[in-house]
Point group: D2
Chain length 338, copies 4
């Protein structure tokens, strides 16, 4: 079977989800090659480039897109399968940022403290060895961390005619900042507007759960996705699937509400797939599930609820993840990438 492959044309970045015309329209099943800038728009290139000086609010966290999917209507589900996420430079950056992060006063957790110092860390990225190197600023300490490329931000146009900053995660996806959004993962979004209007950005060479200091190892990416469509069944919140896990997300404050949303969705999903009543699914998820943090720093926080596919064995969405995996392998094989 031949795969349709298109390239997202480079263009002006967006900084919002919603309210923008598509820059590309694709049929379900299309492989899309695209590139994304880092969350600083590429403006932080060394330890002297303080983001509060070289970046300007609200021109942060650019996303590429939107991509319209032919036939996607409100109530449907779009699937975004990540085939490949590849840092394009041999460096990446992370920073603190004034009044942003989990261990600092912020604009909503408002306090009388001065901002913590703003500092930039430059990481050496070695895609051959699969590493990025942390170099301390206060000492000679240095350590290699494994590359684990992912996208912090991916989503669709929101419901209710809203236009939402790209740094905000929510029911439409957006800046969930979970390390699970890596190659091999399929993300499912409920469609709110015709065409769904998928955008993505905020590539990370890697990220800890919670993204505690507010930024990950931020990098421009060369990324390949497969976009697909499931008629109906649009989930209330983004869902993820990889070869091992079904995952629900919730983005809300306080963090227990993000937890509740994600667990509630996973209980419902499990109930549906296994034909259990809600209490039985609640019980099974309670004993078998995982609950890692996504981000605990953005305008809303994100939690994930995960259950092993070895326990919930019914294929989700008629096995679309497996088919998208096959498309991905075929694509990569044809390009000699495996």
């Amino acid at each position: 079977m031949s795969i349709e492959v298109v390239a997202l044309p480079p263009g002006e970045p967006n900084f919002v989800f919603g309210g923008r015309e598509p820059v590309l329209t694709v049929r379900p099943g299309t492989v899309v090659e695209l590139s994304t800038e880092d969350c600083f728009g590429g403006a932080v290139r060394g330890i002297g480039d303080l983001p509060s000086q070289v970046c300007q609010f609200p021109y942060l966290n650019p996303v590429s897109g939107p991509i319209a999917v032919v036939g996607a209507e409100p109530g449907d589900t779009v699937a975004v399968h990540f085939v490949d996420i590849r840092p394009v430079r041999d460096w990446a950056v992370s920073t603190t940022f004034p009044h942003f992060g989990a261990l600092t006063a912020t604009h909503t957790t408002a306090m009388l403290h001065e901002a913590l110092p703003e500092r930039v860390w430059l990481y050496e990225v070695d895609t051959t060895r699969g590493t990025c190197r942390f170099q301390a600023r206060s000492s000679d300490f240095s350590v290699e961390l494994p590359l684990d490329p992912m996208h912090g931000t991916v989503g669709v146009a929101p419901a209710a005619h809203e236009v939402i900053m790209s740094i905000t995660p929510g029911a439409h996806g957006g800046n969930m900042d979970t390390p699970e959004m890596r190659a091999g993962t399929t993300a499912y979004f409920g469609v709110n507007v015709p065409g769904a209007l998928i955008s993505l950005g905020d590539g990370h060479c890697r990220q800890g759960e919670g993204e505690v200091c507010g930024t990950a190892v931020e990098a421009a990416m060369s990324t390949v996705i497969v976009v697909d469509l499931i008629k109906g069944g649009g989930p209330a919140w983004p869902r993820l699937e990889n070869d091992d896990y079904l995952m629900s997300t919730g983005s809300a404050r306080p963090l227990e509400d993000a937890f509740r949303v994600s667990q509630h969705d996973l209980v419902g999903w499990t109930s549906e797939l296994l034909n259990l009543d809600a209490l039985d699914a609640y019980q099974l998820v309670s004993q078998a599930g995982l609950a890692p943090a996504g981000n605990v720093v953005d305008t809303t926080y994100t939690m994930l609820a995960k259950v092993p596919k070895g326990i919930v064995k019914t294929p989700a969405y008629d096995g679309i993840h497996t088919r998208l995996r096959e498309t991905a392998f075929q694509y990569l094989n044809e390009r000699g990438n495996i």
Copy 2:
């Protein structure tokens, strides 16, 4: 001195803040006469009209406007003084709504409970006596409550190119649902876009603090405001002033963050007006301040921080509230309303 008075032309309601063209443009100091529909768009007219059946998401909480203010630029402050808020019908309604309210599971405080029963209460409104009558649905109990008309929703176009549902409160104002937004109050908003683009709606015959069940005594209103402009000084969050109090607002989750935002702003405002350092202002507000809830049911929660003007005596914004009060009295006198 002659007052400029204009009427906001009736038109299609909006359901968002931001992203809409003004329907009226006025000079600073203009009195604007306008009308607003209730939060149900007038569709709930009796106890059989369940909002989940007669209303359609997201067409809830219509706002009138936007009104552009000549000369308002980002960074400026617009003042909206409420001259008169008058229920236009002899009835008003309140309801529970599935998965909405403070004492129910919601879409973000997600739980496995079925929704609480949906119920409508019809209030008799007597503007002559100044009352609205609560009539229990489960018994013959009935009691008159004092009318205290106010607007739940008032604000400006948001920053960062966002378009935000009218039911959401935030830094731009919006659905703060505080009973302080009554006639005699001046609200101050930081301007984010040229013209500021003021919208308002969601009239309440009265409302308890917290708006616990999710809706107030909802009514269409005939309202008069004065709109004014202060160059510069745009506050980060909406502020209110009446004859007795300076008030800061914060809208965030969890509720302590709304509290923090409002108190932080009031400490800063007090510090500026009294020329105190931050710690002295923190101390004074701690001993002299009030902290009532606005809403604890909407997509974000609202707290108010209040300090008596008998303690913080320096006129805010060069005494604009007093001047707007005078304009209001002049307007009302000319129309024989006092």
Copy 3:
């Protein structure tokens, strides 16, 4: 009718609720005269006395008592009516304290900020004029605030054999830090252990709602209470009543849970008093209620839910508040205090 009046003997202060033997046992209806030290144990006497240096954790917030009530059994309700609360010195203090307060990083809202500066404010207290004077530390600014004496801490021995620090509010009462705990107020507590074991302390010359900086205008007090007993009916959370309002409290985190607890209790109380079903009571409280903050700084936060007795007219607890008011007037008259 003659009133029984006893004095609580001075003794070693406690720093906990629960696990302590009574120092006084009284019959229901007894007037108790007592004294309490300030929250610093009297150790902060000038602006050079930094609490972190002159006080030692956990010997903070001493409480007087416990007082056992004859006949009080688990499930009963004890009433504590405040007859008089009088500052005993002509000065009082307030302070910031490292990592304590609403606008600072704390031990649980843990952040990387250094503590805010520790500062002491000394207030002149003039009981004749009914004022306490705030004097800024950073300038010559000074302003008189009205005296409004109250107790931050009052409660009973907790359930479940717990022993809880006196700085923690909860279902047993404790450090709720609400300005409503003033003379003229009756507080109701559910009894958890035989005798109830009432303790109180933490007198404030006055306090803003929220107690934002972490301390009020702290003072040693000479206080008179009437202690009474209602068999059965022990409320799940402390309730308050004055001549104008019925009030429920909730102490929890996040602050919306404190709000929920207080509103839930007030809805239940209203439902019971007016013989309404839960939804009708929910509606009535939603439109008629007030929701001020107690403390937003302690180990748990406190919210109040208030409804006017002009609306909920059925006497609570068979009118005990009115009878206790009369006892208080009789006591005060006999001592020539009115």
Copy 4:
């Protein structure tokens, strides 16, 4: 080297941390063999045994102990290494419980919903195959889950003379309900009272992260621990270590505060071990760390912050975990358990 092994004598269970005399006193380095009942005190033995009927508050979650450690003084650190945790019966139970759990209204997240149905699930436990079998109640669905035995509750006597219910987690440990508390893990607690006074209980055959429905696969356990002492260095919050990770815990509400506490502690620990300043440690943990939920159902919530020992290579506490591992292997070898 010979190991000292003692058995904790069976005795009356406790339901609190603090305020109890030790039932066993051991020297540092001692292996202690003990048994614990399940959180229902063994009263739920079949699907007809509803916990609200067969259990009585506050006699829930019994803990064995306390065990005093010779030489432990306030400010020190006690280490509890889990050698073996073995279910003693061939069945285990899990239940919902009225108004307890993450997806239900609770006593503090107070709402007007009736409680969710109370239901008991009986698990078949097969220690030979290493499984426990979930059997749905609403259908024939059944699935084997891997055994992963752990203790939900372990801690020391609290500070400040408090006595705290065993179902509450906090700075003293207690009911953290993290699956990381398995054999092979060393837990570190700051000592608050002479002897430390270690108690533990609440064995789980396995548990999902978050313990969403409120209970795990609850089982009586036969458990072996090694107790050790480090003079000084008492951590503010419990820490854990296994062969692969250093872990900090935080127990607080809202959940983001539990997250903040755990991350703040891990940043401090990393800073100390690697001799980095706080910002460098913040950065490293942000990129390398994991953040799973412990419990999101108890009176306070628990989050973990984890960093791989492959990245933070300096041995913690002078390598005590490695030595305790060796003691454990020696013990198990001598008893033929490996």
